[in-house]
Amino acid sequence: AEALKVAVVLPGVVTDKSFNENVYQGLTRARDELGVEIAYTEKVPQPSQVEVMSDYARRGYDVVVGAGAEYTDAAKRVARQFPDIDVIVLNGAPTDGVATINYDNQQFGYVLGLAAGHGSETGKIAALSAQQVPAFEQVVEGYRAGFNAVRPDGEVLVAYTNDWADIAKAKEASLNVISQGADVLLPYLDAGFLGVVQAAEERDVHVVGVVRDLSGEYPEVNLLSTVLDFGGALYQAVELAQNEAIEPRDYRFGIGTDAGYLGGFNAEASQEMRDAVAAAVEKMQAGELDPSAE
């Protein structure tokens, strides 16, 4: 049979070392391991979303993926117009005719908050994003719950930079929260997260990674990372599509699944922290702990 054709439409560039790059890696992995034919477009502005996605559909692509919540509407329209293809949206709101891939963001935030609770000396931690998107707010919700579980009086600062890729701005925002006493930072950004990491390196505080595992590249500043492996999730979705088993529904990944899991701890992380995190992951998997229900 002919190879499955998969196209991904991205809001940013595949070299952002963050979300976009992660998705791109999942896509190339699908090409290499599943033998599918791939294509992608970077930096697609909002007015062109439908155009680009339906162009791929017309060019004979079997799976068209919108990488980000803002593609939900476009995906719905493309799915309606091309009922024979599989339309997938990462982080999208559950939508008719579209397969959406979502994470229980609170769970990831929760373990990071727990770790921050054990790692913070000042009792203040921070989270930074560009825009006030719900996925981030969910992460923060869990983050705060986890942190307060260890330090009931602890404070979580939230700052927005208004630009997913502006590294300098992210760095300044980070230095700012650090000067206010925050000593664990959670970046929810594209390339901008590099600014957060740099600020943490310079001021000797910690970062918790939520999208990527930072322990390999930034072992010093990384306190704990979780991995929202959108690329992995995409890989699985492509595999399902290849077997004609994908359905237009919401695929949700909690922590401890093969597309959403714990990354590495800081080498100096206390045993207490490791134990607490492990226990929480176990409880959440078992459904005994729901950080979103606070």
Partner: protein, 362 residues
């Protein structure tokens, strides 16, 4: 020799493509195949043409938003902000006009309130200019940022769809969406309205006393006062017309294309409108050509990227090159004995931002 000059726009594009070919090769693709995809994707393919038209609508309106004030000697660099406020006003009208009213009545009201929103936002720099002599370039630019943030905040606190994964408003009612005139594409009626606006403004500027007065103020505000024109009011009028055009651009993006108001929905149409305006030598009718060309370039570039697989970033560089070459090409006039000449009438005086300030002070 004259013929050579007649097709100078074409020569310019060709020259840009030749230079751009080096970039394409560097990006590891075959320039001929890439350019083939570019042009067929822009103009010679039903869906490509439709997407060219879809882009043309905001580009043309944003271009008009620059042209009209610039004819009066005022540089509206803040079309982006007016686009956002226009979209906001249109969205609010679409969401909150009582559904009891027939759609045939609500739709024009929505379009009007979008235009009004853009016009009002444009009036801020115009008022500051007319009555305080404050440089309109800078205020309109700064107000663009304010508008974008304002729209973000309003979406967040007021208009946001519950449970939405991204900051966007609720969907506007189905019955006030602009009809699509090319089946199975996104080409909506807003494009036709934009074209109509360009034609009407072309006529207004050429054939009406308002247009003449705008031209005189643009040439020489002191002479305009002497001619009995109320220069302050004219500054306000021309800016408001421009803002209304930008407001329409924003509104059409909502009720014609996205069906919702998205945070950060415009990819810089305001700035691109400036290019349209100058490529069109400040003529609304030529702006149709310029906007069509620029839209085709963007749509075609996307198609080329998807068809041949060249890097998106290279496509952006190529677009910059083409605009640059076309601008250079247009600067050459046919004048025996001279190489390059003055820009077309209207442009030189108008591009001098401060001319209107002096007499506006009276």
């Amino acid at each position: 020799m004259r013929l050579v000059f007649l097709f100078k726009g074409v020569w310019a594009v060709l020259a840009a493509l030749v230079v751009g070919a080096f970039l394409v090769v560097l990006a590891g693709a075959d320039p001929l195949a890439a350019y083939g995809a570019l042009f067929s994707g822009a103009f010679f393919d039903y869906y490509g043409l439709a997407s060219t038209l879809v882009r043309m609508s905001p580009l043309l309106l944003a271009g008009l938003a620059v042209i009209v004030p610039l004819r009066a000697g005022l540089f509206n660099i803040g079309g982006e902000g007016q686009i956002y406020i226009g979209a906001l006003a249109g969205t609010v009208a679409a969401l909150y006009l009582p559904e009891a009213l027939p759609a045939a009545l609500r739709l024009p009201l929505i379009v009007l309130s979008g235009a009004l929103g853009g016009a009002l936002w444009a009036l801020i720099p115009a008022l500051l200019k007319a009555y305080r002599g404050i440089n309109e370039i800078i205020t309109s630019l700064l107000l663009s940022y304010v508008a974008i943030y304002l729209v973000g905040a309003v979406i967040h606190v007021w208009l946001m769809e519950p449970g939405a994964p991204y900051p966007y408003s609720r969907e506007v009612p189905y019955d006030v969406l602009l009809p699509v005139f090319l089946p199975r594409t996104e080409a909506h009626a807003g494009i036709l309205i934009a074209l109509t606006c360009a034609v009407v403004l072309g006529i207004v500027l050429r054939r009406t006393t308002l247009g003449q007065s705008i031209t005189v103020v643009g040439h020489n505000p002191a002479a305009a006062s002497y001619a009995g024109i109320n220069v302050k009011r004219l500054i306000l009028t021309s800016f408001a017309i421009g803002g209304a055009m930008a407001g329409l651009a924003g509104t059409f993006e909502v009720i014609g294309l996205k069906y919702r108001l998205f945070d950060h929905f415009s990819p810089g149409y305001g700035l691109q409108g400036i290019i349209v305006a100058f490529l069109a030598s400040l003529s609304p009718l030529l702006a149709i050509v310029a906007a069509f060309f620029l839209a085709g370039l963007q749509a075609g570039a996307g198609a080329m990227q998807r068809a041949v697989g060249v890097d998106t970033t290279m496509v952006e560089a190529l677009q910059g090159l083409i605009v640059l070459f076309v601008a250079v090409g247009l600067a050459f006039r046919y004048r025996p004995g001279r190489t390059a000449g003055k820009p077309p009438a209207g442009a030189p005086a108008a591009a001098v931002p401060e001319t209107a300030a002096k007499s506006a002070e009276g």
